[in-house]
């Protein structure tokens, strides 16, 4: 039962978010997100930030570069503008993406 942080739909954060646990963004974030675990941008999420995490799953809007240790998944409803650096990348059919992709070897 790990704790999960959920930023609700009406949340607006400007600045940095740093954490060691799963993060679900349903609101608006501008700035920087660093997590050692999984980050999820939900359908209502609107993120303009640099994201560093273990896994990343995007179902909303993301604008920014991401540096992910394991896997990035851009879901069907997701849109992303920015560069991706990750070992594994999944772009689902129907998603919109604009930016650079660099697959890097898995660390460890």
């Amino acid at each position: 039962m790990e704790e999960k942080t959920v930023l609700g739909r009406t949340i607006e954060i400007e600045g940095e978010i740093e954490g060691d646990e799963d993060l679900v963004v349903q609101g608006t974030v501008r700035g920087n997100i660093r997590s050692r675990r999984d980050v999820t941008v939900d359908g209502t999420g609107d993120v303009e930030a640099t994201i560093t995490s273990r896994n990343l799953s995007i179902s909303g809007k993301l604008k920014g570069n991401v540096d992910v240790k394991a896997r990035v998944e851009l879901c069907k409803e997701g849109t992303m503008i920015g560069d991706i650096r990750a070992p594994r990348i999944v772009l689902a059919d129907g998603s919109k993406f604009k930016g650079g992709i660099e697959t890097v070897p898995t660390d460890g």
């Binding site: 704790e3 999960k4 959920v6 607006e12 954060i13 940095e16 954490g19 993060l23 609101g27």
Partner: protein
Amino acid sequence: MTVIGKSIIVRGRLSTEEDLVVHGRIDAEVRSTRAVRVEVSGVVNANMDVHSAAIDGILVGNVRANEVVELLPNARVVGDVTTPRLIVHEGARLRGRVDMDGLQTLEILKRSPVQAPTAQVRRPIAPVSPRISVDPPRAFRAEVVEWEDPEALDGGPIRAPAAARVAVEPFAARVPVDPAAVKVDYRPPRPEGPVPAKLEPAAPPSRPRPAAAPTPKPSDKTPVDAPEKGGWFRGRH
């Protein structure tokens, strides 16, 4: 409802229109149109401008609420509180000003009958540090007592993700103090000096005593004959 987990640090600005529960650390100004709850492990290091607040953790910053502010038993607050209603549970610690413009409701929950019926936080530990009370020029009066150990802010079971050692300005530096209004009441540790004269019961100033009669000293309870050294408490019961 938004839940900020224990290991999360948020810096910058945070605004929300739903309930917020904080288990982690927020170095961001919090603005909310609903309720904000700071849990035991939560640390808020900025001002809060909310509809209502319930604080069970650490808050360093001012809080402005439209409805009510509740300081729960583990609350440790350094900052001003502006709210129409204030609830202070036993165990909460507050250092700052309280401003309740309307003075509508002030509830202080007393668990122990010994507790004095004022918004006063007392921590009896010897030796007693000087207590400074300032009479502010407004209707509501808040008396604060200096903590013995300001580091105690982050002691105990509270585990904040980052170091919860926040620098706290001395209270006197924040508030312009009128020197005439400051009364310093310093009580030295256990008095062992001479007994003040007014404590002695009324007795004739001098009594003729027969010099030959051997009056046993230990049973002599007359304070008038007490030696100059003031042995009122010394060896007598």
